[in-house]
């Protein structure tokens, strides 16, 4: 039987579980969230960790900062196997200690580093691509649909940058909201966010100004749409106001092509 360990999807729960598994020296075939579809040869185990905090403290004591950072970033990835890979990676740390990052030829080490890098790179892109709109109550509101779960990284970035503003970052895909009240960031659910968001009166004017700037600043003799798209992938266009028109356009083109397909 495969021993599959389940947890609720939260980073702290995951860390507490992994440390518990190390402590008790239990054989692990897979770690995954409670949404897991059980297979024929699977034995799913929900291990209750009594002293969660103690385990997390231990984690922070045992692992160096750079490793924790890498693990945290890898954990934010949308990879299906990430938990198991991270678990194996931590096992390797006990063997190779601080040299662990050098063993790139070992699969789980290489994969964790890559996952972390992917997450970091998406977060970096979105630090630029995220667009806020000012609501009539002076709250800045930005929507994202990232591949990886980068909202916490973004929130920390904007906490430093827009320190004296109220803002909300909304991950539409995961229905998470990061709300900043000029003091701290809170992660809240759908119900806690007021509905019917009303835009500030001047919002349309500012957006128009920006879209116009965006067009003017391009040098037509150097037009290179492929290059533009390489740097700014289509999947983000929906939430980048100056690209919205292109997004609509490319979508409607897709629709037309789709209907052709079914007709023929």
């Amino acid at each position: 039987m495969n021993q599959i360990f389940l947890y609720d999807g939260d980073f702290t729960s995951f860390i507490a579980l992994v440390i518990e598994l190390f402590k008790r020296k239990i054989k692990v075939d897979k770690i995954t969230t409670t949404e897991y579809q059980k297979g024929l040869f699977d034995e799913c185990i929900y291990l209750e960790v009594k002293k969660k905090e103690e385990n997390v403290d231990l984690f922070q004591k045992v692992f160096p900062k750079s490793l924790i950072h890498t693990i945290y970033y890898a954990f934010l990835s949308d990879d299906k196997e990430k938990e198991t890979t991270i678990y194996q990676f931590m096992q390797k740390y006990f063997i190779y200690k601080n040299q662990v990052f050098h063993y790139r030829t070992i699969d789980c080490i290489n994969r964790v580093i890559r996952l972390a890098r992917k997450v970091g790179s998406e977060a970096h892109k979105l630090k630029g691509f995220l667009r806020f709109k000012e609501l009539d109550n002076k709250i800045y509101y930005g929507v994202i649909n990232p591949t990886n779960n980068v909202i916490e990284i973004l929130a920390k970035h904007f906490q430093r940058r827009l320190r004296n503003e109220y803002w909300i970052i909304h991950d539409e895909k995961r229905s998470i909201y990061a709300f900043y009240n000029k003091k701290e960031i809170m992660y809240v659910k759908e119900e806690q966010i007021p509905r019917n968001l009303i835009l500030n009166q001047k919002e349309e004017f500012i957006e128009d100004l920006w879209k116009n700037y965006f067009k003017t600043i391009a040098i037509k003799e150097r037009k290179n749409l492929r290059c533009q798209q390489n740097f700014m992938p289509k999947k983000y266009w929906k939430n980048i106001i100056e690209m919205e028109d292109n997004y609509e356009e490319s979508n409607s083109r897709k629709r037309v092509m789709g209907s052709n397909g079914t007709n023929s």
Partner: protein, 403 residues
């Protein structure tokens, strides 16, 4: 005139400046709005594929000078506009809060005289920093010929200063920009170099050269860059393919901007700054220009085939860097991994090192990538040309070459 019209005129006339980078500063949020990100952040990409990081505008496109290549020159009949300091601040702040931009890049035509223009720039940026409490990134253009006191004042307000050298030789400058003098540009660079610290242009200085507007070779252009990097600690030299905006008998009649050449220069510039190359490694009197079909590093390697292949498990860091397709990140990966295991081709693949180009120049434990017979100079050259990203990406501009 509406704000929108002004912004159109004053961004349209600023767009030829290639610099848009926002990196190298670590300005903290001092209780107001904004901070700078050490590695820089691109917020958008315009339809020409260039990064938009800063709100790039001129304070005014009025100018008392008459540089031949410039759209704003005195003798041109174009619509002119002047931004009020408050207007610039309002737009910057509103864009910044919506996360459209990383900060402001403010340049200007010369109004009345250099000192007056500089004072206006200082007034605007002071307002932005003091009244609007803006701690985001600011790049300002230093006006040649303005007094050093004003330059120092400006330097204390901004993250980066730049003065464009524009043309690689003084002769071309005299011919095409009769009001500009090399010495004035150098004196700005000198002042910035001598005063630079955490509060004075923390992100350093940069400059720009126009490529293809004058007859200089790549050797002369890159030689100038090397000189500037060494002498004035420049952070960046930008290259800007000449785009004919004016008709003038002194200017070349180019139909399309020399974008490939510009790109090769950027690649070579990169090699100077991060790979330990010197200009006289890359070019000489017999070969004063880069091969348009190959990137400078591959070109160099092909001309030095006697140095290859290099053994992955032994080659020194800088020798690995000289292998086409291997950058600093891959070279570091190799060095750190091989301490613990002897690397095979498969290991390199697993580590995510791209072998497309590198495979022709490396040995792993004495083994070639495949059959040794294909490791002939002409075969490698053909393959590298085919795989070259620039010469094979057919952007619209490139295609029109053959029409």
């Amino acid at each position: 005139m509406t704000i929108k019209e002004k912004l159109t005129i004053l961004s349209d006339s600023a767009k030829y400046d290639a610099s848009c980078s926002s990196s190298g500063s670590i300005r903290k949020n001092s209780g107001g709005l904004g901070n700078a990100a050490q590695c820089g952040i691109c917020h958008s990409f315009s339809s020409d594929g260039r990064c938009i990081s800063l709100l790039k505008i001129l304070m005014t496109n009025c100018c008392i000078f008459d540089c031949k290549y410039c759209i704003n020159r005195k003798s041109n009949n174009v619509k002119r506009a002047i931004f009020e300091p408050e207007e610039i601040c309002e737009i910057t702040i509103n864009f910044y809060k919506r996360n459209y931009i990383e900060g402001l890049f403010l340049s200007s035509g010369i109004l009345k005289n250099p000192d007056y223009t500089m004072e206006k720039l200082i007034e605007t940026i002071t307002l932005l920093r003091k009244k609007y409490h803006f701690s985001g990134y600011i790049h300002a253009k230093a006006i040649p010929g303005a007094s050093p006191i004003l330059l120092k004042k400006l330097g204390n307000l901004v993250d980066r200063l730049s003065a464009n050298i524009e043309l690689p030789t003084n002769d071309s400058l005299k011919l095409l920009a009769p009001n500009k003098h090399e010495n004035k540009i150098y004196s700005i660079m000198k002042t910035v170099k001598e005063n630079r610290n955490r509060n004075f242009t923390p992100a350093g200085q940069s400059t720009q050269m126009i490529i293809g507007g004058s007859p200089e070779t790549d050797l002369e252009i890159l030689g100038k860059s090397e000189y500037l990097y060494n002498r004035y600690d420049l952070k960046r030299v930008f290259y800007s393919a000449y785009i004919p905006v004016n008709k003038d008998t002194l200017l070349p009649k180019l139909q399309i901007p020399p974008l490939k050449r510009e790109n090769r220069l950027y690649q070579a510039d990169w090699l100077l700054r991060f790979y330990g190359y010197k200009v006289n490694h890359l070019l000489d009197k017999e070969n004063p220009n880069f091969n348009i079909l190959l990137d400078p590093k591959a070109d160099w390697a092909l001309r030095h085939m006697e140095e290859y292949p290099k053994e992955v498990n032994k080659a020194a860091y800088y020798d690995l860097l000289k292998v086409p397709g291997i950058g600093p990140r891959s070279a570091k990966k190799i060095i750190s991994s091989r301490k613990y295991t002897s690397l095979e081709w498969n290991d390199l693949k697993k580590m995510g090192i791209s072998l497309k180009r590198a495979k022709y120049f490396l040995l792993c434990n004495g083994k070639y990538f495949t059959n040794q017979n294909i490791f002939k100079k002409n075969i490698i050259e053909a393959n590298l040309i085919l795989e070259d990203k620039i010469s094979t990406t057919s952007s619209n501009v490139q295609l029109s070459l053959f029409q």
